[in-house]
Each structure stands twice: as C-alpha cells, then as structure tokens.
C-alpha cells in the first residue's frame, strides 16, 4: 500500500518581478528610505501565520459608501463612481472575508490629512476613507467620488495621477499588500515615478477598467473594475 504524502498549503513567495525595488531613484524619497542590503530569506513555515483577526462586526454599515460615511449637510462634490472587483490569489481562487481598506483625495485633489497643504478646498461632506470585507466570491464594492490629481514635491511640477490607495491582508501575515489603483487613460501615468516604480509588464495591473455596467443602476455612477491578486498557496508535500 502506497504511503499517503500529506499535503500542506504553502504560501507562494513574493514575486519580486511584479513588485517595485526598494530604491527607485525617480521617486526621490526611496533613496534615503529604502533598505539597501539584500533581504534575508526566512523559512517558509513562518509565512503561514494567519493574522490579524477581524470580522463583519468590525465593519460599519456605511464604511463602503464614501459619499455618505462622512456627510455633514449634503453630498460630496465630484463624479460619483463605483469601484468594484475581486480579490484573488495567484491560482485564481477568491480570497473571501478579507479586509479591504481604502483612502483617497477628494474631487479637488485634497486629502483630509493635516499635513496636506495643497491649496485646494476640503469638502465638508467627504472624508475619503472606506472599508469592505470581501464576500464568498472575493468581491468588494465601494461607492465614492473620483479623486482629483494633486501636485507633490518630487520634482518641478510633479502631479500624481488620480488614484485610490488600497490596503489588504489576505489570509496570511505575509500576504499583506498596500497598493494604489489608477484610472484608465490618465495622461499623468506617463510621468509618475511611483507608478513607474513597478516593473513594466506589472504596473499595468494597477490600472482599473471602465465598466459602465458595474454600477448597476443606470445613470447613477461611473463604474470601474479593479481585481487584486495576492500571493497564492501551493500544495506541497509536508517535510518529514
């Protein structure tokens, strides 16, 4: 009788061909802040830790609706958009019940953050932060306002393309991903060193797709789809 080899899921490594290097001189702040020594490999077993723990109880009823979750006396200004997509692993399996946190500038390109001194108006009805716990198919869905472009200090007349920040955990401590979603056809992408920090052939995955059907109700909001792929698991024979 053949021995049964037990299988244990093993988290696939970070695919460095898909991720930016730590030091990318076009993005000036990386020069003094990115680690310079080679990363030290860690035993794969340490990547199996699951964390953190959270649940539906942690998510507020308006956390997914940025047009309402900070409204004081009306609706925020700007183009309403639905941003939706699936969180998948590298094998195409949905990552269910995983936390998606987003934050973004308002329609004028201004962040609520106190250190943002860009001379553009704040919107009293818009915070720009949201959360969602993915469903069984790995899907998330936010209703928000299209963020504006804004200048930053990287080089003369540097402007960030319109973008939404995303933070995800996936099923493991080591599947952590913080990224940014961009909009199709944005002419500022060609000039943005943060976008270009991701390798060619990979950075295009950061650009959402226009999907006029995504918003559901016709004539209410523009729809953008953005799927996110986290590190997957491989079934490998357990070491004796």
């Amino acid at each position: 009788m053949a021995a049964v080899t037990p299988l244990t899921p093993q988290l696939a490594p970070r695919d460095w061909a898909s991720h930016p290097p730590y030091v990318y001189p076009g993005y000036k702040s990386t020069v003094k802040r990115g680690p310079t020594r080679p990363l030290v490999p860690l035993a794969r077993s340490l990547a199996e830790r699951r964390a953190p723990v959270y649940g539906h109880e942690d998510i507020g009823p308006l956390d997914h609706d940025l047009t309402k979750n900070a409204a004081k006396n009306g609706e925020p200004l700007g183009e309403r958009i639905v941003v939706t997509g699936r969180v998948l692993d590298e094998s195409g399996r949905p990552v269910a019940n995983t936390l998606v946190e987003i934050w973004q500038a308002n329609a004028a390109g201004r962040y609520v953050h106190k250190v943002d001194q860009h001379h553009a108006p704040l919107d009293p009805n818009f915070l720009g932060a949201g959360r969602y716990l993915t469903d069984a198919q790995g899907r998330y869905r936010f209703l928000t306002i299209k963020p504006g472009a804004y200048p930053w200090g990287n080089h003369p007349n540097a402007w960030r393309p319109n973008h939404i920040h995303f933070s995800l955990f996936g099923g493991y401590f080591a599947s952590r991903l913080v990224t940014q979603m961009y909009f199709p056809g944005d002419p500022l992408l060609a000039y943005d060193p943060i976008y270009h920090g991701a390798p060619a052939g990979a950075r295009e995955r950061l650009v959402s797709r226009l999907n006029l059907e995504a918003a559901g109700e016709p004539g209410f909001a523009l729809g953008f789809e953005f799927d996110i792929v986290l590190r997957g698991t491989r079934e490998t024979p357990m070491e004796a």
């Binding site: 003094k32 934050w103 720009g128 080591a174 913080v178 950061l206």
Partner: protein, 195 residues
C-alpha cells in the same frame, strides 16, 4: 500559477485618516491600534517603542508600523472571539507622526516562545512614504539570552547584524519598556526579511 501578483505601491504620507484614524484624531473608527493587550490579558505587560530612521539618521514622521505576535504562552490568536475573551488581539498598528519625538508604541504582553528553536519575538511590518514595498523585520528581547542563542533565525544571521533585531529593556515608571529602533539604511541597517 494562473495570475500574477498585483504590484505594491507606497502607503504615501496621507494614510492616517484611513488606517490609523483614532490615533491621529480623525472622526472614524480605527480597526487596529497601538493597544494589543487589555489589562486582564495574562502575561507580563510591556510597552514596545522606538523610532524609524532614514539613511541620514533623521527620524521618520510618517511611517506606519504593524506588529504580530504570540500571547504570553506562545500561542497565536486564531479568531476574533478568542481575542475578545482573552483581552489580547495579537496584532497592532501605529503611526510615527503623533508624538513630538516621532516614536511608535505598542502596549502588549511579552510573547512566549512559539516552539522549539524559536525565541520569543514579534514580527513587524514597516511602511512609509518612500517605500514602494513594505519591509518585514522582527523584534527579539535582550533579556532572552539563552533562547536567542538557540533561535534558528538569529543563528542564520551574521553575528554583527543580530543586534539590529534585539530590543533593549528599560525600566520606566509605566512598567517594562522595550526599545526597538528601525534603521532603514546605514552601517546599522536593520535586518529585513524576504518573508
């Protein structure tokens, strides 16, 4: 693998109202914060604190630190209900921009050893404006000399770099404090892992 990973991008300078809102005084609930252990959590209650330094030795005012650790018996929290019952969450998040000295801090318990060949430790994620990908590092404890000597991760490092992962214990009025500074670059660059 059928699909390729979505690339990482920087957390940027403006994460606070989305990821650490209560710490920074925004009117939005924080899902994770600097307190991992409630008073009733078993074990030695400690504070972990430190600063993040750039390649010029300047403290970083817009870094975000996340930590994951076992409880005082070396067990990792497996569910939200378990975390609530024990008063211990096992995971924390803190930015470096709310104190004049630009330190992060966590109120937690000292972790136990999670297994043979593993000294007590805390896993750390570091991100900030200027890192396009987050970095993984680890905190060990200076008063765990014997366990540290047997730890397989520490043992695999060049001896001169091990000290970058060892937190110093200080007696403070508020209780035991461990200081763990993170140096992104320079002769004492912290060890970062490919996790």
């Amino acid at each position: 693998m059928a699909l390729r990973q979505t690339p990482s991008q920087t957390v940027g300078p403006y994460f606070a109202y989305g990821l650490t809102p209560e710490q920074y005084g925004y009117d939005y609930k924080s899902l994770f914060g600097p307190v991992l252990a409630e008073p009733q959590a078993p074990g030695e209650h400690i504070r972990l604190t430190g600063r993040v330094f750039d390649g010029d030795g300047v403290p970083v005012n817009d870094a975000m630190i996340e930590i994951l650790q076992a409880d005082s018996r070396g067990r990792y929290v497996e569910s939200r209900a378990e975390a609530q019952a024990a008063g211990f969450r096992g995971f924390g998040r803190c930015g470096t921009g709310t104190h004049a000295s630009l330190h992060y801090w966590f109120d937690t318990v000292k972790p136990g050893s999670a297994g043979a060949g593993e000294a007590p430790h805390i896993d750390v994620i570091v991100m900030m404006r200027g890192t396009l990908s987050h970095a993984f590092t680890r905190v060990y404890f200076e008063d765990e000399t014997e366990a540290n000597a047997r730890d397989s991760v520490l043992a695999a490092l060049p001896a001169e770099r091990r000290a970058t992962l060892v937190a110093r214990r200080e007696a403070q009025p508020c209780g035991a404090t461990y200081r763990f500074d993170i140096r992104m670059q320079g002769p004492k660059e912290t060890v970062f892992f490919d996790l």
